[in-house]
């Protein structure tokens, strides 16, 4: 087969949603690479340089942690039929508690032989689980509107965390713990140029790289996953075969809080401090996570790809600020995820929203 044929073949093929996205991303990267190599000293060359820098990849991975975990959490909630728009709030709560607890216990000491940093990590997760449990009760038991309840989760967290910080620290920001998540470096593998970044990272990054395939497995290969999907699509079908729909929904929403909590705790503990100015240090990551999982069509792997893309853009932008001559306002960069998702969803395809998402289910029979 000649190149000509291959090319026309590729163009004429009916590309799937996934192929279009991956193809598009690869295409943009190749374009930058080609332009960068052909035109040294240009913006393209600088961009290419930044993209292929190991530190950019490192920071992209770090930045994607909260987005990816929140996106995974969002998938489990929405797949089961409870739209969790409060991911942002769960991130804020877990980020704050993860700092507050070690600050109280003593950042460098241990509790029951466990370093308080990790106690804080667990506490952050627990706070998020409790908060999502409250959300679940309101939505499932009391049949509140899920969007309103989700907004409430966000707004309560947005007010509560800086308030508690002010009470404890006298300001909306916490003091720095003086310690943060360690970097675990895997010998030899971390020496690999560029991709070595995957093997010299915080435990949170490793956890993320495990959580993505694990989430996919749970959702698609376990009976719990089957029940989750059925509950979000046709809860009555699940009910008639004798599975308790509410129980599945509670479990999945709590799991959503658990995953999101990991992201929030990792965010603040990565820095060693909680910043409560304006939108707090979470600053819309929960909402970007929603965009990411929609973008990834409720597939954990797709959501990871989208989150990584958004985080990567931010990493490039941060790096670009340091190169003289480019003054791209970061607020412009921050609109990129939203613009992309609108463009992509409008042009390439539709994500498929679970049929019963947002609907209450009442096991009706007397």
């Amino acid at each position: 087969m000649s190149t000509q044929n291959t090319l026309t073949g590729l163009l004429e093929r009916d590309w799937s949603y996934r192929e279009t996205l991956v193809g598009g991303a690869v295409g943009i990267f190749v374009t930058i690479a080609v332009l960068g190599l052909l035109l040294p000293e240009s913006l393209w060359a600088d961009l290419f340089g930044i993209i292929t820098e190991r530190s950019t990849l490192s920071s992209a991975l770090r930045l994607s942690v909260p987005i990816v975990f929140a996106a995974l959490g969002g998938i489990f909630a929405e797949k089961v039929g409870v739209i969790n728009i409060g991911l942002e709030g769960l991130l804020i709560v877990s980020a704050f508690v993860a700092i507050l607890v070690p600050a109280i216990l003593g950042p460098t000491e241990t509790t029951l032989f466990i370093p308080n940093l990790w106690v804080g990590f667990a506490a952050g997760i627990l706070a998020s689980v409790l908060f999502s449990g409250l959300f679940a009760v309101v939505c499932i038991r009391y049949k509140a509107d899920q969007i309103i309840a989700g907004l409430a989760v966000w707004l309560i967290a947005l007010g509560l965390a800086p308030f508690a910080a002010t009470v404890y620290y006298g300001g909306v920001n916490t003091e720095n713990l003086g310690t943060s998540l360690p970097t675990w470096t895997i010998p030899v593998l971390s020496e690999i140029p560029l991709f070595g970044a995957f093997f010299s990272a915080t435990p949170a990054v490793y956890a993320m790289l495990l959580a993505v395939p694990a989430s996919w497995f749970v959702l698609n290969r376990t009976s719990f996953g089957n029940h989750v999907r059925a509950s979000g699509e046709n809860p009555r079908a699940l009910d008639t075969v004798g599975v308790n729909v509410s129980r599945v929904r509670y479990a999945s929403v709590l799991l959503s809080g658990f995953l999101t909590g990991i992201g929030g705790a990792a965010l603040s503990l990565g820095l060693g401090q909680f910043i409560g100015n304006n939108q707090t240090m979470v600053n819309g990551k929960g909402f970007i996570a929603i965009v990411a999982y929609l973008f990834g069509n409720y597939n954990p792997i797709g959501a990871f790809g989208a989150s990584f893309l958004f985080a990567g853009l931010e990493a490039v932008q941060i790096r670009l600020q340091q190169v003289p001559g480019y003054a791209i306002p970061d607020s412009l960069i921050q609109t990129i995820p939203y613009v992309t998702v609108i463009v992509v969803l409008a042009l390439v395809g539709r994500t498929r929203i679970p049929e019963a998402a947002g609907e209450h289910y009442e096991s009706g029979d007397d």
């Binding site: 089957n226 999907r229 079908a237």
Partner: protein, 540 residues
């Protein structure tokens, strides 16, 4: 033969309604049993009792000789009873296999993962054993409704069901799929399974079942073996022939034509022709009745006339104007009142109170509205008038429609439509679910409207009602008017035959010729030759 199911004097009461009244039902193992009756006869309620969805108020459920008390479908499933609901309980984006094993997934890796391979194998085996042509890998949303139904049956079989209940299984199927389903029935009964299916189509019951039990108004009015019965007998059992509360009726004095249809043809929701070339006139000062077993095209015909369904061909003329394509709102404004068949779906907004419901359809017009503002005082007075006139209880205009009982909802709708000062009243099942006193009142009011010179088009599956009220009576079967008769002269037997699709004069031989001529192959009553497949698709 042994008895698979025995329902012993089942009574099921809901607040204010007796849905099943002392019903006995016996089904032998390895047979197909049809539960036949009009809508609202209590068929589904009875089967929900058997499936554990409802607990009977009185009576016993005996399965395979053992008395059972089901508190949930789970118990029924454990006892080997499976039910295939009218609306399938399937998860669209999941595969056939995933749907079948849902809730009972085989596991592997110490219960960690679903054994997808094993599940697929089980499903394929099951499907092969009963000769089902189902691809275990297919996604539900990609397969036809007929296949989805087989998936539902497989789901029940996978859970070990020996007794299968199917609620109106043919309602959603094409004629070919109906044939396939009945073949599946044979396959299943050959292997010892017992099937009970609910239907209101007597052709199907005769063709596919070994025994038929007819329910009417919640009572078992007869259990017969299909070999020993006829279409006429079943039709009579279904509609009954209770003594009609004789309404005093003056002779009619028909005036000008108000409504006329010419060659009206319409399709049902599945795109199958449901009304075939129907032409008739309704005149001022007469009641034109349409009788027939439910589901023979009456609903589609009325929808085409009232503007709720677009006819494929033919015209509807109202007060001398062609309104075939006129929007529904124009028809209402032109004085066409309509008592719909489904009061929840089309008669009322359940979350609105009676004041709001009382002005529906007139909300934009004087005296209720002026320049877009609703005059709520007038609306309230109107609602209170209806409540008083039609004895709606509780007499509270502020009550939400949903809080009223079915009969009272019906009275309110009838009141609203009758008080519209219409030129034409289209009333479908106007007294369904209404107590006897109110029924009489509604009948009298209907005749009053007639005597005032209004035109009335009445559809009812209650034979005594249409026969007693109508001045001319059309009998509908399979989308066509079999005949238009004088209700005073015609006998019940004649109507029964017409409803069954046969002409009384030339009952035996000619009916067969007719049936062959219209390509349906429906033979004379009672015969169940293998080639004698009623393609009941058109009978809805």
């Amino acid at each position: 033969m042994t008895t698979a199911v025995h329902l012993d004097e089942i009574t099921k009461r809901f607040p204010g309604v007796v849905a099943n009244d002392d019903v006995d039902l016996t089904v032998e193992r390895g047979t197909v049993h049809a539960l036949l009756g009009e809508n609202g006869a209590g068929k589904t309620t009875l089967m929900n009792v058997l499936y554990g969805l409802y607990r009977p108020t009185e009576g016993r459920v005996v399965i395979e000789g053992e008395e059972r008390q089901f508190s949930s479908p789970r118990d029924a499933i454990d006892a080997g009873v499976g039910m295939i609901h009218q609306h399938f309980m399937l998860v669209d984006p999941m595969t056939v296999t995933e749907n079948i094993v849902l809730g009972n997934e085989p596991r592997k890796w110490f219960g960690l993962a679903v054994d997808r391979e094993g599940a697929r194998r089980d499903v394929r085996e099951l499907s092969d054993r009963y000769g089902f042509d189902v691809d275990p890998e297919a996604t539900i949303e990609d397969v036809s409704v007929g296949v989805q139904q087989r998936v539902e049956i497989l789901k029940a079989l996978y859970r070990g069901a020996d007794i299968l209940i199917l609620d109106e299984p043919t309602a959603v199927l094409t004629p070919q799929e109906v044939d396939d389903l009945f073949r599946v029935f044979e396959e299943l009964t050959d292997q010892g399974k017992t099937i009970i299916f609910i239907t209101h189509k007597l052709g199907e019951a005769l063709h596919a079942a070994d025994d038929v039990t007819v329910l009417r108004d919640g009572k078992n009015v007869g259990s017969v073996t299909t070999a020993d019965t006829s279409r006429e007998e079943l039709a009579e059992l279904m509609v009954g022939r209770e003594v009609f509360l004789q309404t005093e009726k003056a002779p009619s004095d028909p005036g000008d034509v108000v409504l006329s249809t010419d060659g009206l043809t319409a399709e049902d929701n599945r795109g199958i022709e449901a009304v075939s070339n129907v032409s008739f006139d309704v005149r001022e000062g007469e009641v034109f009745g349409i009788a027939g077993v439910d589901g023979n095209g009456q609903a589609e015909l009325i929808e085409a006339i009232t503007g709720l369904r677009k006819p494929t061909t033919g015209t509807v003329t109202y007060l001398g104007e062609d309104i075939t394509d006129a929007p529904r709102a124009d028809r209402i404004d032109a004085g066409m009142a309509y008592v719909p068949e489904d009061r929840h779906e089309r008669g009322l907004v359940m979350e609105f109170d009676l004041v709001q419901n009382g002005i529906l359809g007139s909300q934009h017009r004087a005296p209720f509205a002026e320049r877009g503002n609703i005059d709520w005082n007038t609306a309230r007075n109107h609602a209170e008038d209806i409540i008083r006139e039609y004895d709606v209880r509780p007499p509270n205009a502020d009550a939400d429609a949903v809080s009223l009982s079915g009969g009272n909802q019906q009275k309110f709708i009838v009141g609203r439509e009758f008080e519209r000062n219409p030129d034409l009243v289209v009333a479908t099942h106007p007294t369904r679910g209404v107590d006897i006193g109110s029924t009489e009142f509604i009948h009298d009011r209907l005749l009053e409207l007639r005597d005032e010179g209004k035109a009335v088009l009445l559809v009812s599956s209650k034979l005594d009602e249409v026969q007693g009220l109508s001045d001319r009576l059309a009998v509908m079967h399979d989308g066509e008017f079999m005949d238009v008769v004088d209700p005073q002269d015609v006998t019940e037997e004649e109507i029964g035959l017409l409803m069954a699709g046969e002409h009384p004069d030339d009952a035996a031989s000619a009916a067969e010729a007719d049936a062959i001529a219209d390509g349906r192959g429906e033979g004379t009553s009672g015969s169940r030759a293998a080639s004698d497949v009623p393609s009941d698709g058109g009978e809805r």
